[in-house]
Symmetry: C2
Subunit: 205 residues, 2 copies
DNA sequence: TTATATATGTAATGCTTGCTACAGAAATAA
DNA sequence: TTATTTCTGTAGCAAGCATTACATATATAA
């Protein structure tokens, strides 16, 4: 079997003068902080250290760059999907998800809050598709958690009468809300207390 | 005592050609839907039915108009402060507040979600003061609820060991989160279920 | 070498932004 | 009437927006 690194043929024309992933990382951080519409292409090129034509050649347009940044954001060290799937129980899945949010929203080297929860909450009609893209991601996480809860009910790990949808929606609502709390200045311990508090809403252990 | 209506002297120059409160109402609805920065002055003048010079004469500038719109939003039929103050218990205050949110975020003749929670979540540096204004309002509601909870603990209506701050923060987080859920298409019954679910987190009745 | 492909830097595109100068209109006060 | 005050409509401001045309630079392929 060939060495993968050696297998990578050089492209034909002039090579990129910048590290694509590093530039994308910087764009992501800017979108995270200021949101989609309030971040201008000028802001982006400055932060990424490249000129506009390079940006457009590498990422298509502002919208494409944003969606790429979202992809980078959601494929970090631990994804929501992994957290849910790896949890032993639905209860644990919800708690881990919210705890990861509490920690991720209060990082020292990243903007406060959540990119998915804050980058396109309200926008102009021109950005409705971007808004929808984020909304879809949020809904998928909620749906996955809801299914996990339903499963635990089905196998008797949660009481038969438990309402799955409200618990899943509540978890997502708390995550969205913690994003705003973090943006408003709430520190990590406070968010962790919020998670502990909301876990009391689950059926008695 | 003079009749107040007769007491209102006509102003000296040419009278306003539009109803100030009605125009402000329309501006509020537009800000509610699209947020502060994504609503342009052009959008506003069109919706308000007036020209730019009239807008600037009546409201100062875009920022002044927005803050006036926020004032109108927060001084509606029932304010958060009234809900908290009129509630018999802290528990009731939190529940009423969240229920009012669930209803208010899913009105038929208004945009989905909450103006305070969505109009300036992420913005450019130029709008940081607007962002701060909304953040301050949110914090004041949280603070008022927290004090109500502390009082109930002090008079023995809630268990001595109850943590007031997390319950207040959780309530606000759920409200912010429900705003996003509503914007994502959640209907009123779903939000009401979320409120019922989170109330289970309160100390046993 | 020459041809081809890709990326870059400069500079500009047309459009939208928030805002306002200015002249005229419409009211009250003298 | 005349003066004064206030608002309106037209028209336009400078600045910023996302995007791109174009010439040039730098790589591989023939």
């Amino acid at each position: 079997m060939e060495n993968k690194l050696r297998d990578v043929r050089r492209r034909r024309g002039r090579p990129l003068s910048f590290d694509r992933e590093e530039a994308l990382e910087r764009a992501m951080l800017l979108f995270w902080q200021h949101g989609y519409e309030s971040t201008s292409v000028g802001d982006l090129t400055e932060a990424m250290g490249i000129t506009a034509p390079s940006l457009y050649a590498a990422f298509g347009d502002k919208k494409g760059l944003f969606l790429d940044a979202v992809r980078k954001y959601t494929s970090g060290p631990v994804t929501a999907q992994q957290i849910i799937d790896n949890a032993a129980t639905a209860r644990e899945a919800a708690e881990s998800l919210m705890m990861a949010a509490a920690v991720g929203f209060t990082g020292q080297n990243t903007p406060s809050g959540c990119l998915l929860a804050s980058a396109a909450i309200s926008c102009s009609d021109a950005a409705l598709d971007v808004q929808l893209a984020l909304s879809t991601i949020r809904s998928e996480i909620e749906s996955r958690l809801r299914n996990k809860i339903k499963n635990d009910i089905a196998i008797g790990r949660l009481p038969k009468g438990t309402a799955a949808a409200p618990l899943a929606a509540l978890s997502l609502a708390v995550i969205q809300g913690m994003s705003t709390l973090a943006r408003d200045g709430a520190k990590r311990p406070k968010l962790i207390e919020v998670v502990k508090a909301v876990m009391e809403a689950w059926p008695s252990r």
